[in-house]
C-alpha cells in the first residue's frame, strides 16, 4: 500500500515544501501537546479494541489492525567493536538504531521534522527562557519494572555533562548542578543563557534517557519499545517486544534483530535473498534499479541530511581560509550528485538546513570556478597542492564522491589522493572520526539550532571542522535565546554568513535517505529526520 508513496518521494519528486513550515515556539508547543493527546487517545482506542498481549507471539492479523508477531531482522553498516548499547558513545547508524529502540528520547522527531513528545510531555519556559519546567510522561516503566521518574532524567543529564559523552553539546548551556526535581514527574532545568527551543537539543539518539545509576550497558535497561535480550558485539543483537510499552499495543513484532553487514553490496544481497527484512542505506545505483524492478521496497525520503567534505580549519593547508574557499569552488556539486548519488539529492550551498526556519536563503549559490580556485591557491602559496581525502564505505556515495572530487580538483592543479578507511572505525570518535584534516561526513538533524550546536560549538564532540571560535559560540547562544523571531533570524544569518565565507564545510548535497525493505514489511513511513522512518520499528509489522 505504501510502496507507491515511497516511489513518489524519489528523486525529482516534489520537494521543498516539506521544510516550508515555519515553526514558532508557541505553535510548536501547541502541536506537541496535541500530538500527545492523539497518542493517548490512540492508546485508549487500541486497548478497547482488545488487541492486547494475548495475540503477541504469533503472526496473524488482528481485526482491522496491523498483524502481530514475528522477528524483524534489520541490517546496517556495523561499527565493529565500537558497537554498544551505551548511548554516551556511538555515532554510527547501527548505534542510532539500537539507542532509539531500547531507550526513548525526551522529544521525538516525526517524519516531516515536527517535534513530538517522547518521555517529556510539556516544556514550559519562564519569561526569558532561562528556566524550563519539563513535565514527564506518567505511567512509564523501565524494562526491569521500576517506574520512570524525574530522577532518571536528572541522572542522564548529569551523564551528558561528561565531556566524552558524544551529545555533551546538548547540556553545555545547562546549569547541571541546579537541575531540580519538583516532583516525580516534573523537573526544572536552569540555563546559563536563554534558549527558546531547548527541546531541540534532546531529540537525538545519544540523548535518550537512561535509568538512574546505570553504568553497565552490556545488559541495558530502557523504557523503549524493545527489551534487550542478547548482543554479540560487531555482529548482531536481539531484543524482544516490551509488552508494557507506553504506546499501548506497540510494537507489533515480537522480536527485533539488528545485524552488522559492513559491505554495501552484501547488505543489499542479504535483503534480496530474504536473509533480512530491512536494511538501512541502499547504494544509490541499486536503489534506482530497484525502484523500477520492484523486488524490494525502496524507502526514499527527501531530507536535509548533509553530504559534506570537511576541512579541519586548524590544520595546514586548510588553516588558510583561501584554501578552503578554493576547495569550495572546485566542487561541481551537480556532477557529484549525478555521479555519486544517482540523483538522490539536491545541490548544497555549504550551509546546513536548506528550507528550514532561519536558513539564509539569499546567499548566492556557489558554482564551480576553477580559475578563481587556482588564483586563490596561488595567493595562498599553494600551487601544485597535494592533499589526502579520507573516505569510507560507511555511507553510500562517499567513495564515489571522493573519487569524483579528486578528478575535479585536477582542473585546479590540486592532487587529491583518496584514502579508503575501514567503515566500522570511521565514525568512531576514539579512532578516526574528528581526527581527520580532510574527510567526508554525513549529518542528519531536525533543526538549524540543533545542527549548529552539535557541529560548531567549541566544545561539541562532533565539531569535525575544529571550528573553535568564541564569537560563534556567543552568537549561537544568543540566537537560541533570541526574544523574538526577527532577532533570531538576524543572528542566525550572521552565523551562517561566517560559515558561508570562511567555514570548513563543503556541503555539496542534501541527500535523500534511501533504505530498503522486503515486500512483506509494512508500517515504515519515510522520514526526513533519519533512516528507516527515523529508526522507528515500533510501527513496523510483517505480513
Amino acid at each position: 500500500m505504501a510502496s507507491s508513496d515511497r516511489q513518489s518521494s524519489g528523486p525529482g519528486a516534489a520537494g521543498g515544501d516539506v521544510f516550508g513550515t515555519r515553526f514558532t515556539r508557541r505553535r510548536l508547543l501547541h502541536g506537541a501537546a496535541a500530538a500527545g493527546l492523539t497518542l493517548g487517545a490512540g492508546g485508549l482506542l487500541s486497548a478497547c479494541g482488545g488487541d492486547g498481549d494475548e495475540t503477541a507471539g504469533q503472526t496473524g492479523t488482528t481485526e482491522g489492525g496491523p498483524s502481530r508477531g514475528g522477528r524483524l531482522r534489520v541490517a546496517h553498516v556495523g561499527a565493529g567493536k565500537g558497537e554498544s548499547f551505551n548511548p554516551a558513545r556511538g555515532s554510527s547508524f547501527i548505534d542510532a538504531s539500537r539507542y532509539f529502540n531500547v531507550f526513548d528520547p525526551l522529544s521525538r522527531v516525526g517524519p516531516t521534522l515536527e517535534v513530538e513528545p517522547g518521555l517529556a510531555l510539556e516544556w514550559n519556559p519562564n519569561e526569558d527562557s532561562t528556566l524550563w519546567e519539563v513535565k514527564l510522561r506518567p505511567d512509564v516503566t523501565w524494562h526491569d519494572g521500576k517506574p520512570f521518574t524525574a530522577d532518571d532524567v536528572i541522572y542522564t543529564l548529569g551523564q551528558m555533562g561528561d565531556a566524552k559523552h558524544v551529545s555533551h553539546a546538548s547540556v553545555l548551556n545547562i546549569n547541571l548542578r541546579d537541575v531540580r526535581k519538583v516532583d516525580d514527574l516534573t523537573l526544572e532545568i536552569p540555563l546559563k543563557s536563554p534558549n527558546a527551543r531547548l527541546f531541540d537539543s534532546f531529540v537525538q539518539q545519544n540523548t535518550v534517557i537512561v535509568q538512574d545509576g546505570a553504568t553497565d550497558f552490556t545488559r541495558p535497561v530502557g523504557t523503549g519499545p524493545f527489551m534487550f535480550q542478547s548482543f554479540t558485539v560487531g555482529e548482531r543483537s536481539l531484543c524482544t517486544r516490551n509488552p508494557n510499552y507506553w504506546e499501548q499495543g506497540k510494537p507489533y513484532v515480537e522480536e527485533w534483530e539488528d545485524i552488522s553487514i559492513d559491505d554495501n553490496a552484501a547488505r543489499l544481497n542479504a535483503l534480496l535473498a530474504g536473509e533480512v527484512d530491512m536494511i538501512s542505506q541502499i547504494p544509490f545505483a541499486q536503489a534506482k534499479q530497484q525502484q523500477e524492478q520492484g523486488d524490494i521496497q525502496v524507502i526514499a525520503a527527501e531530507s536535509p541530511a548533509l553530504q559534506v567534505f570537511l576541512m579541519a580549519v586548524d590544520i595546514a593547508p586548510f588553516d588558510d581560509v583561501r584554501v578552503r574557499q578554493a576547495f569550495r569552488l572546485i566542487a561541481d556539486r551537480q556532477a557529484l550528485i549525478d555521479g555519486a548519488l544517482f540523483g538522490f539529492g539536491t545541490v548544497g550551498n555549504d550551509l546546513a538546513g536548506k528550507g528550514m526556519p532561519f536558513y539564509a536563503e539569499d546567499l548566492p549559490p556557489r558554482e564551480q570556478d576553477l580559475d578563481e580556485a587556482r588564483a586563490l591557491l596561488a595567493a595562498a602559496g599553494h600551487e601544485n597542492l597535494t592533499v589526502t581525502l579520507h573516505t569510507s564505505d560507511i555511507v553510500p556515495g562517499f567513495v564515489e564522491a571522493a573519487t569524483l572530487f579528486a578528478q575535479q580538483a585536477q582542473g585546479a592543479g590540486v592532487t587529491v589522493n583518496v584514502k579508503r578507511e575501514p567503515a566500522n572505525a570511521y565514525f568512531d570518535t576514539s579512532l578516526l572520526y574528528t581526527k581527520l584534516d580532510f574527510a567526508q561526513s554525513f549529518w542528519t538533524y531536525s533543526s538549524i539550532p540543533l545542527w549548529y550546536e552539535q557541529a560548531l560549538l567549541s566544545d561539541a564532540v562532533w565539531n569535525e571542522t575544529h571550528w573553535r571560535d568564541p564569537e560563534t559560540d556567543r552568537l549561537i547562544r544568543q540566537a537560541q535565546g533570541a526574544p523574538d523571531e526577527e532577532t533570531a533570524e538576524q543572528l542566525w544569518r550572521q552565523i551562517q554568513e561566517t560559515q558561508y565565507e570562511e567555514g570548513g564545510y563543503i556541503v555539496w548535497a542534501y541527500q535523500h535517505l534511501v533504505d530498503g525493505a522486503a515486500q512483506n514489511v509494512q508500517g515504515v513511513e519515510p522520514s526526513s529526520f533519519f533512516n528507516l522512518g527515523g529508526w522507528n520499528y515500533r510501527d513496523v509489522y510483517l505480513t
Binding site: E83, R89, L272, A425, D428
Partner: protein, 339 residues
C-alpha cells in the same frame, strides 16, 4: 611441558620401540617451546604499538584521571612483565580476561565469549574447504601428471592458474552473480545466528567454500602434479613397470605415495591460511569468522584480544605442521628408519 617430563621410564621404553612416537613427542615438545617464544614475540610486538585500549575506549576528550581509572580497570597500568605473565597464565587456564568493547559499554564481557563462536565458525569453514581441497587436488594433480603435456593437463593447469590469479573478492562476486543473481539457487550471504553451528545451513557455506577453493586449490594441484611427475620418472617406478605391474597399480602404490610427501606440506600451509587469513572472504559473505574478529579487535586496540587470537592462530599453525610432518613420516618409510 609436564606431559613430556612425566613418566620417564615408560616413555624411554616406548621411544626405543616406537620411533614414530618418539618423533611425535619430540615435535610436541618443540611446539610448546615454539609457542612460548611466539607468545613473547606477540606480546612484545603489540606492546610497541602506539596508544592503548583505554584511550581507544575513552576517546579524544578523556581527562587524565579518567584515563588512569580505565587503565587501572583494564590492568594496563601494571609493568609489562606482570601483564605478560598474567596473560600467559590466563591462556593456560582458559581465562583470557575481559574485552575492551565490554569496558566501553560500561561492563565486563569475557574475551573468550567473543572469540569462541568465531573460532568454531572459522574451523568449520576451513575444515569443509580442506575436506574438499585435498581429494580434489590429489585427483586433479595426479590426472594432470599422468596426462602431462596433453589436453587434460593443459586444461587443469590453465583453469586452476586462471582462478588463483583472480583476487578472492572477484571470485566471490562472480560466484554471487552466477549462483544468486542469475540462477537464484544459493544465498549470497552466510550469516550464522549466534548459538547455531555454521553447519546448520549447509547451503550458506557453498559460496564461501567455493571462493576459498578457488584461492587455494591451484597451489596444491601444482605441487601434487610436480611431485607426481618426478616420481613417475624415478627408477623404482620404471622398475615396477618393467616388472609388469599395471599402470594403475604403479601410479597408486609406487608413485603417489612418494609424490605426496612434498604436497602434504603445501596442504598444511593452505589449511593454515584458511583458518587465519580469510578476512576478505568473510567480509564478502558477512561470515562471522576469526579474521574479522581480529581486524575489529585491532581497530579498538584491544591488545589482550589481539594477542590471544594471534596466539591461537599460531597454535593452529604449529599443530598443523606437526600433523603434516607425521603424515610425511608415515608416507615415506625411509624417514622413519633413518631417525
Amino acid at each position: 611441558m609436564t606431559e613430556v617430563a612425566a613418566p620417564r621410564a615408560a616413555a624411554r621404553a616406548a621411544r626405543r620401540r616406537r620411533p614414530l612416537l618418539r618423533f611425535v613427542v619430540r615435535r610436541l615438545a618443540a611446539a610448546v617451546a615454539t609457542l612460548f617464544v611466539v607468545s613473547i614475540l606477540i606480546f612484545a610486538g603489540t606492546e610497541v604499538l602506539p596508544g592503548d585500549a583505554a584511550s581507544a575506549v575513552l576517546g579524544r576528550t578523556a581527562t587524565p584521571e579518567q584515563l588512569a581509572e580505565m587503565q587501572e580497570l583494564m590492568g594496563l597500568d601494571r609493568p609489562a612483565h606482570e601483564r605478560y605473565l598474567d596473560w600467559l597464565g590466563g591462556v593456560l587456564t582458559g581465562d583470557l580476561g575481559n574485552s575492551a568493547a565490554g569496558y566501553a559499554a560500561g561492563g565486563e564481557t569475557p574475551i573468550w565469549d567473543d572469540i569462541a563462536p568465531r573460532v568454531g565458525n572459522s574451523l568449520v569453514l576451513a575444515g569443509v574447504t580442506a575436506l574438499l581441497m585435498v581429494p580434489l587436488a590429489l585427483v586433479l594433480g595426479v590426472l594432470a601428471a599422468v596426462r602431462a603435456g596433453r589436453t587434460v593437463d593443459h586444461a587443469i593447469s590453465v583453469g586452476s592458474l586462471a582462478i588463483i590469479s583472480l583476487p578472492e573478492f572477484i571470485i566471490g562476486s562472480l560466484l554471487i552473480l552466477l549462483f544468486f543473481s542469475w540462477l537464484d539457487v544459493l544465498p549470497p550471504v552466510s550469516l550464522v545466528p549466534p548459538g547455531e553451528s555454521a553447519l546448520s545451513r549447509p547451503e550458506a557455506l557453498v559460496l564461501p567454500v567455493l571462493t576459498l577453493l578457488g584461492a587455494s586449490l591451484a597451489a596444491s594441484i601444482r605441487m601434487v602434479r610436480a611431485g607426481m611427475l618426478e616420481a613417475l620418472n624415478a627408477e623404482y617406478v620404471t622398475m615396477a613397470r618393467l616388472n609388469g605391474f599395471r599402470e594403475r597399480v604403479v601410479v597408486a602404490r609406487y608413485a603417489l605415495r612418494n609424490a605426496l610427501a612434498p604436497s602434504v606440506q603445501v596442504f598444511a600451509q593452505n589449511i593454515q591460511y584458511l583458518v587465519g587469513g580469510i578476512v576478505v572472504t568473510e567480509y564478502l559473505f558477512s561470515y562471522p569468522g576469526l579474521g574479522k574478529e581480529l581486524v575489529d579487535a585491532v581497530a579498538i586496540r584491544d591488545v589482550r584480544e589481539v594477542q590471544s587470537v594471534a596466539l591461537l592462530v599460531a597454535g593452529v599453525y604449529v599443530l598443523l605442521n606437526i600433523v603434516a610432518d607425521v603424515l610425511v613420516v608415515l608416507l615415506v618409510p625411509k624417514l622413519r628408519t633413518q631417525s
